[in-house]
Symmetry: C2
Subunit: 133 residues, 2 copies
Amino acid sequence: MPTRSAAQRRAEAKQAYNAYLAECPSRQLLASISDKWVSLVLNALGMQESSRYSDLARQIAGVSQKMLTQTLRTLERDGLVRRQVTAAVPVRVDYALTTLGRSLLPVIEEIKQWAEQNMNHVRQARGRYDARA
Amino acid sequence: MPTRSAAQRRAEAKQAYNAYLAECPSRQLLASISDKWVSLVLNALGMQESSRYSDLARQIAGVSQKMLTQTLRTLERDGLVRRQVTAAVPVRVDYALTTLGRSLLPVIEEIKQWAEQNMNHVRQARGRYDARA
DNA sequence: CCGTATCCCGCACGATACTG
DNA sequence: CAGTATCGTGCGGGATACGG
């Protein structure tokens, strides 16, 4: 039996995943998170305690039913989102971030904000790039 | 002429972009950034002052020539990455983050780290989800 | 209201071959 | 070494229709 504390073993387990490796599961997870619909859904969910399906569809302009449902399902399976069905007529479904999901929220928010705040810089850079050639 | 300071007008310009709107340019930018190859390339570039093309290809396992070049070109056009060609035989090409690119780096690093550090949580969540049904 | 099921098109992406 | 060029295809994702 190795002389390692539980904390040490936990730390090692965390570092065992390396997203640079193509076969590593964390590479797939990174790919899942790095998705525009995921960004927008998590951002939207972060703004309220919970959101109804139809609210999300309205807030995230241009998302199709298919992609919204698919994104929510994946996030639910990965433990980032909790789905709560209220039996009624018609049915009411609410989505909320889990603790795990909330731990990712700050980063996701920053990404969206960066895009919005640096759009002008990027526009100028594109202008410069396209002017040459 | 409106009674607004330059700072006020700048603040407004920044908030004029809203990624929730499908037609907003910042939505496209968010989609560009939220890409697995972009994540990995920016992370890799953040680790050194500059990186050669072949170094990036090696570090990011499984990336095709096409996707690596394409990603680097887009990042260069958007002003996040600078490309420097050194005439020699054979040619040497180095890539480095610009100031703008470096401003995005902390967030991108966090995403990759989150994926690696929470992989176990996600695995367990998936197990629980799949067990039901 | 909140989905699932089906069809289908376009293009993202990988594989391969060639060049300065 | 660091790319371009070309081709083939898998699947992302929209449109539509239907179900609980």
